[in-house]
């Protein structure tokens, strides 16, 4: 995609992600949040957080399947908006439902298990938001950053379970979210298993098997590679003997 078009598309996404917040604020200003405004605001921000978590997780599969690499530029936007809506969701609950009472919030959490699950989701999103900048990606290194950001799966699972646990009887919507999440996680599982398949046997076991019996394998490996993880599985090393 051309640079100028990409910039416009980014703006498009940025603006659209803010629409729920803008409408919520507008409706609140005009007293149009219905009979139970606080509850309404809690529900809509929670719903938005969940939708954005799903969108965040949709980016990678969509990119791999469609081959449209520029989609990746929206993953961070979606993720940060998910965090933003989840924070708003919690703060509205804390400030307007619990009247800023910490003990009131904690005692309510003790009674409502789904709040503990939701809080887990929100808490794991904090390090993700903090490490979302380019500078942080560099500092952590791609590998560690990616590993850390798998916490997004935890947030999404916690969010969906939190939703499922609090509905009274009509579980259709939370189950629909669960279905979507299952597909998104299933995709990753398939990718992971496919990448693993060519090397089912652990790499160091193979190296050991190839070694002449009289040599101590650990010593050799340690001399060649600082740690076992660095053994490149695809091409068994030529042992320097």
């Amino acid at each position: 995609m051309k640079e100028a078009n990409l910039r416009f598309t980014k703006l498009l996404v940025l603006v659209n992600c803010a629409v729920p917040a803008a409408l919520l604020a507008w409706d609140a200003w005009n007293h149009q949040l219905g009979a139970n405004p606080v509850k309404f605001a809690i529900l809509t921000t929670g719903m938005s957080a969940l939708v954005f978590l799903m969108l965040t997780m949709l980016v990678t599969p969509l990119r791999k399947i469609s081959g449209l690499n520029w989609i990746i530029s929206f993953r961070r936007t979606f993720g940060l908006y998910a965090f933003f809506y989840a924070c708003a969701h919690f703060l509205i609950f804390f400030a307007l439902d619990r009247s800023l009472s910490i003990s009131g919030t904690l005692s309510e959490m003790a009674k409502r298990k789904y709040l503990i699950v939701g809080s887990t989701g929100l808490l794991v999103m904090v390090p993700l938001a903090v490490t979302s900048t380019n500078a942080m990606i560099k500092r952590l290194g791609g590998k560690r950053w990616r590993a850390l950001h798998r916490l997004a799966y935890v947030a999404a699972v916690a969010g969906v379970i939190h939703y499922y646990m609090q509905v009274k009887a009509d579980t259709r919507q939370p189950l629909a979210f669960m279905g979507v999440l299952a597909i998104l996680l299933g995709y990753r599982l398939v990718v992971y298993l496919r990448q693993r398949r060519p090397n089912k046997i652990p790499s160091n076991a193979r190296c050991k098997a190839n070694l002449p019996k009289k040599l101590s394998p650990t010593v050799v490996l340690d001399r060649t590679f600082p740690s076992h993880e660095h053994v490149e599985p695809k091409s068994p090393p030529n042992l320097p003997l």
Binding site: A35, T44, S99, A169
Partner: protein
């Protein structure tokens, strides 16, 4: 000459070109924002609309606000708008704001209520005859939903005991069972399996005979709007709102405790009695406080929803933790 003229008209002025592109982009931006807004509104309806059911003639006011009968709560009344646009009525929608629009065209012509079972005079009432059985009274009751919110509603109706007297329950009758209309064509969500349809509820006979127990046919001086249970519903102000069954077609007097909808759905969460009780929590949330619709912040929930003086004796000696 000619060639020069042509090329001049073919090349669009760059300023114009960029203006047009910006214009298109602004259009795309606006259109996409509107589309996102529409999705948001669909996922999160806030509700709204008018109420225009007919006024009920000759409503009487039974007793002053200080009367120990509890007929007229002194609390500030919830607005008609909120009472009619924040409804739990799963036959139409599980979303409280969506009930009013979906129930708007609910047709109640030719409505009949069968009163049957262990009674001396079983009878199928035409709605009009049922409405005329006793003069309509205004009763201002607190309503506490099991979900933790509450309203104050000026109902119109008469004590259920008036109807029970008319059909004369037999000696063996110990409970009263109620049933909502079953008609998926008129109540579309009955085709979904969220609850077991029809909705059924029940009371012990002494609870049903208590003067506070109301057969309601209106609110705010008007006939009941569909979303609040037209044309006739039950109101039991000291119990959680789900006991107040709506759009009743059958009332039977029975010998043993009848099956009730929410109780059979989740027996650990919703008891048969379902008396408002701030000391017995719902397994998934606290019942100590409530959000009064129209107020800011939560208020403490009262024992028996503030009707302890009137109804406490019905439960003397009962363990309200096990009989929740």
């Amino acid at each position: 000459m000619l060639a020069k003229k042509l090329s001049a008209s073919e090349v669009t002025d760059p300023a114009l070109y960029f203006n047009r592109r910006n214009f298109i982009r602004a259009g795309i931006l606006a259109a996409s924002a509107v589309a996102t807004g529409a999705v948001y509104r669909r996922l999160n309806p806030a509700g709204g609309g008018e109420v225009n059911t007919p006024l009920i003639q000759g409503v009487t006011v039974p007793a002053p606000a200080t009367d120990p009968s509890g007929f007229r709560a002194a609390d500030r009344q919830t607005s008609l708008q909120d009472i009619t646009h924040y409804n739990n009525f799963y036959e139409f929608s599980t979303d409280k704001a969506s009930v009013a629009p979906l129930a708007a065209n609910f047709n109640t012509t030719g409505w009949r209520v069968s009163v049957e079972g262990l009674v001396k005079m079983p009878r199928v009432f035409e709605l009009d005859d049922l409405l005329k059985l006793s003069p309509p009274e205004e009763r201002i009751y607190r309503m506490r939903c099991v979900e933790g919110w509450s309203m104050v509603i000026p109902w119109v109706g008469y004590s259920l005991s008036k109807l029970l007297d008319a059909v004369e329950p037999l000696e063996e009758a110990k409970y009263v069972a109620f049933e909502t209309l079953l008609d998926p064509k008129r109540m579309p969500e009955q085709s979904a399996g969220v609850l077991q349809w029809p909705y059924v509820e029940g009371l012990r006979l002494d609870e049903a005979r208590h003067p506070l127990t109301l057969l309601a046919t209106g609110l705010y001086g008007r006939a009941l709007p569909p979303q609040d249970g037209a044309p006739i519903r039950l109101v039991v102000p000291w119990k959680y709102g789900f006991k107040g069954i709506k759009s009743i077609v059958k009332i039977s007097l029975v010998a043993s405790q009848p099956r009730t909808t929410w109780n059979s759905e989740a027996p650990r969460e919703y008891g048969f009695y379902a008396n408002v009780n701030p000391h017995v929590d719902h397994p998934r949330w606290s019942q100590a406080t409530e959000q009064r619709i129209g107020e800011f912040g939560r208020r403490p929930t009262l024992m028996f929803n503030g009707y302890e003086e009137q109804v406490g004796h019905l439960y003397a000696g009962m363990d309200l933790r096990t009989n929740f």
